[in-house]
């Protein structure tokens, strides 16, 4: 299927995850797959929940497309190229009076660069948007029961585990992630890893704040980019308890 939706256990409830790009399959096989949304759930879903999964696929593709801005990326490319060349030229012009002047000119010239904007030039967003375009061209929203026996087996296993899990949320998510890794189900493992990463306890947040960049380091662009996750190639919605 071009896209697959799973209802997975999550801390006593469930989440709907729609994977629309699987890198484990070769492109030729992906092209040959029938369009449609394969649904894997622990029980029967109501029409509203099916509609939610369809919406999740649409918005996830839209999120990946919205994160990519070719026009912005092109403008930034010219900005970086022109700015770097100009900084080098100005530094070279200031070199004869003394290297200290050259360093000064170079530093001043570099401040004209668009250092605060890193995402639109990231190749990850462009690759995700290209994949989203490919899926959007082929996929349909028609929900069909998941045909893959291996995936159904994984679903049964993870729900068996999810129903008897106890402990802290982080431990539960770690156990689910470990199960997915044991089953070589890496996309689902990545989802649980992302969810565990989003579960920051207040004490851990305070620790992270204490250990985080201090003073002027906070102004550096790569620190400012922290917390802005690039759109993943899956969609996520919360669903009811089973």
């Amino acid at each position: 299927m071009a896209a697959e939706a799973f209802v997975l256990p999550y801390l006593g409830r469930s989440i709907g995850v729609v994977f629309w790009e699987s890198r484990s399959r070769p492109p030729a096989r992906r092209e040959a797959e029938p369009p449609g949304l394969a649904i894997y759930a622990p029980g029967s879903l109501s029409p509203g929940e099916l509609a939610e999964l369809q919406t999740c696929l649409c918005t996830s593709l839209g999120h990946a497309l919205a994160a990519d801005a070719p026009g912005v990326r092109r403008a930034l490319w010219w900005w970086w190229t022109g700015g770097l060349i100009a900084a080098v030229l100005l530094a070279a012009h200031a070199l004869p009076p003394g290297p200290q002047f050259a360093w000064l000119a170079l530093a001043a010239g570099l401040t004209a660069l668009p250092v605060a904007q890193a995402r639109p030039v990231s190749p990850i967003t462009a690759r995700g948007a290209a994949a989203a375009r490919r899926v959007a061209r082929r996929a349909t929203l028609l929900p069909v029961p998941g045909p893959d026996a291996r995936q159904r087996e994984r679903m049964e296993g993870i729900w068996r585990l999810g129903r008897r899990l106890a402990g802290s949320p982080r431990e539960q998510l770690r156990a689910l992630e470990d199960y997915c890794r044991e089953q070589a189900w890496f996309p689902a493992a990545a989802v649980y890893a992302d969810l565990a990463g989003a579960l920051a306890l207040p004490s851990e947040e305070a620790d992270a704040g204490a250990r985080g960049p201090r003073g002027g380091a906070r102004r550096l662009p790569w620190h400012r980019q922290r917390g802005r996750a690039a759109p993943s190639q899956y969609g996520l919605i919360e669903m009811r308890a089973w």
Partner: protein, 314 residues
Amino acid sequence: MSSVATLRLYAAPLPRELGSLALVAPPPLVEEVRHAGALLAYHPAPLELAVLAPGALDPARLQGPAGVVLRRAAVAATMAPPEDQPALPGPQGAWYAALVTWGWLSILGAGESARSTLGGLWLAAGLPLVRRAYRRALAAHQGRAALGLAGAIDAAQVRVVEHAGLQRLAAMLAAALTGSGQGMSTAEAAWRRGETSPATSSASTGTQGGEHGALASGAAEGSGAAAAHGEPSTFAAPGFAAPDAAGSTELDSQLQRAALLCPAAGVGPLAAFYRALAAHRPPAAVWTPVPGALTGPPAETPAPAALWGTARPT
């Protein structure tokens, strides 16, 4: 999407005093509208609006209010720039002015130095040009979702689908009313028997209503009429300001219970909506009450097999 693009909207069950049903687009759903707009900009397709409902509703009755809520959500989603994109990178303000001035001075004092001329040209002319180009590209990018939605929103098809979590929520609210049914008015009891219309009974119910009763009657008269004309109302209604009545405590506790149940029912974004109603605050959502849309009392608590399905992995 080659066939159709889908968006969702909650038809949230409410206690009778508040009109029994509201179409709600909480902030996460508004964000979904923006993403769907980006998808539609790349791949124009028919737009379908799935109204997630606690039971069977008349789509014709919901078509108008749902379309208005969708339009308002689209406006809210596309007018504000996304939070994850800074307005403008690079130097700004006095430092930017100083760099441009330095560029002009470099050109003026370049003599025969090509390096100084080119570097100065970049700072004096190239930098403002590329900055402007970046701004235009960013504005075009941010407006793309609006363009995508503009082409599809008028022809959006409304489809009412039953949602198991909302069914559970409606059953809880109905059970709460039944549990506190001793204080039920004659009009509401008559409505429960199907003898009068819900709008009439909610407007005339006074024993449980208190502040909410006044609000509900306001909604039935003012907002209800506005909804009938396709205008969603908010809770900035005249009768809403001061929560003081002891009679509204029961209603507030029902709404609080509904908010607590939302995550387990899979409608987590609605929790803030119910909490705001219980706290007598305007909800941070695009929404409108649809009085009388529920053609009968919500179903009694369904059997687990009927609600959750029977197939469970062993």
